[in-house]
């Protein structure tokens, strides 16, 4: 049965949390837990979602949830899954919610190990494109040109010098049973992917783009719009990897203006026309690759 607003579990499992108004990451966690249901054990490393979800005695998860070490999201998921299996407990999901830093920088070895062992876990990376929890420092998923406190925009250097790490394809290169990219701007697509992941045996990875109004410099009500726009302008894509094949889920017929998308955000406001051209050229190159290699 197709999952949508009407068929979704009505219970909230992530409620009363202290995330900033309009937080994209909390929307991703909330929706994923509603799809997976009460019998999921959430593992959260250091990051926004553990900082806003566990402020004793304000504990905002209605299901079982635990904070892991920063580097150990995937290894704790392995342990949770193995421990419950050893006790004969069935019909549960071990799900991890790590940020972009906790996935692509600090937790990448644990994730790689879990995929190697093919542990039966779901790993969701909510990507807000910097270490937002500690005050906006660059991670390896911060896109080119973005201003953060560690990649400031000045006279000589204009924000982040390096492109976003290609986490989706790095994970897929392990030969993982299921990997996907998503965006909270296309929430039905995200829900479908979480549900699909829950039905597959082995390691599952979902990389969901979750804008942060605080770090990106957009109004709090623009989170969902900007998450849609990044897909529409081609700077992010919705795809899946399954059975050794890449599949594109959404192909914009024409890209919307990427410059307009960038200029809406204060983290990109310093960019010159030539920087925007660099970004657009990189996007076109990426899409050449997608068109060639994705179904």
């Amino acid at each position: 049965m197709a999952i949508n607003a009407k068929t979704l579990d009505k219970t909230e499992y992530f409620y009363g949390h202290k995330a900033c108004a309009g937080c994209g990451g909390s929307l991703a966690v909330r929706i994923a837990l509603k799809v997976l249901g009460e019998r999921s054990i959430a593992v959260l490393p250091a990051g926004c979602m553990s900082a806003v979800g566990f402020n004793f005695p304000q504990l905002c998860f209605g299901n079982n949830a635990i904070i892991s070490t920063f580097a150990g999201t995937a290894s704790m998921l392995t342990g949770v899954e193995a421990g419950l299996r050893a006790q004969g407990i069935k019909d549960f999901h071990a799900v991890g919610f790590a940020g972009d830093g906790g996935t692509a920088d600090i937790g990448i070895q644990a994730l790689s190990g879990a995929i190697d062992r093919n542990d039966n876990i779901i790993y969701i990376c909510y990507d807000n494109e910097a270490y937002m929890n500690t005050g906006i420092q660059k991670s390896s998923l911060t896109p080119f040109g973005a201003k953060t406190t560690t990649t400031p925009a000045g006279k000589n250097i204009r924000g982040n010098l390096r492109p976003k790490k290609n986490m989706f394809e790095i994970v897929a290169a392990h030969g993982i049973p299921y990997a996907a990219t998503a965006s909270i701007g296309y929430i039905n697509d995200f829900m479908r992917k979480v549900q699909k992941a829950s039905e597959i045996e082995g390691t599952k990875f979902i990389h969901v783009l979750a804008p942060c109004p605080t770090g990106w410099g957009v109004p709090t009500d623009a989170t969902v719009d900007i998450a849609k726009e990044v897909v529409d302008c081609g700077l992010w894509y919705l795809a899946e990897y399954e059975d050794g094949e890449f599949k594109l889920n959404h192909r914009p017929s024409v890209f919307t203006d990427a410059g307009e998308y960038l200029r809406k955000q204060s983290r990109f406001r310093h960019l010159k026309d030539e920087d925007i051209e660099t970004i657009i050229n990189a996007r076109d190159k990426k899409w050449d690759f997608i068109n060639k290699n994705f179904k």
Binding site: A5, K6, L8, K10, T11, E12, Y13, F14, Y15, G16, H17, K18, A19, C20, A21, G22, C23, G24, S26, L27, R30, I31, E38, F56, P57, Q58, L59, C60, F61, G62, N63, N64, A65, I184, I187, P213, P219, T220, D221, A222, T223, V224, D225
Partner: protein, 96 residues
């Protein structure tokens, strides 16, 4: 189980757990004081499409008799629901 507000804030040493585990969904504070503006739903215009419910980062919108309703205790007033509403049934009003 949905997390809900409790009457008791654990404060004495006996009430605070010695290990790191505690009851799930234990809420002691509201988020209502965070917002400057609040969403107000015109029930006549609401068609019950549930888009606002789906996209609310705080999950404070729920279904009530086929229409959307808001838990103002935990709404932070971000305004995503107003933007997502196709029928224009949600307006933001200043908090007094």
């Amino acid at each position: 189980m949905k997390p809900y507000l409790r009457n008791k804030i654990p404060s004495s040493p006996e009430e605070i757990p010695e290990n790191t585990a505690y009851e799930a969904g234990y809420l002691v504070t509201k988020n209502a004081g965070w917002r400057n503006v609040k969403p107000v739903i015109s029930i006549g215009k609401c068609v019950g499409c549930l888009n606002c419910y789906l996209y609310c980062p705080d999950g404070v919108i729920y279904q009530d008799n086929g229409k959307a309703a808001i838990d103002y205790d935990f709404c932070k007033g971000c305004g995503i629901c107003r933007k997502i509403c196709k029928t224009g049934a949600i307006e933001m009003e200043a908090e007094k």
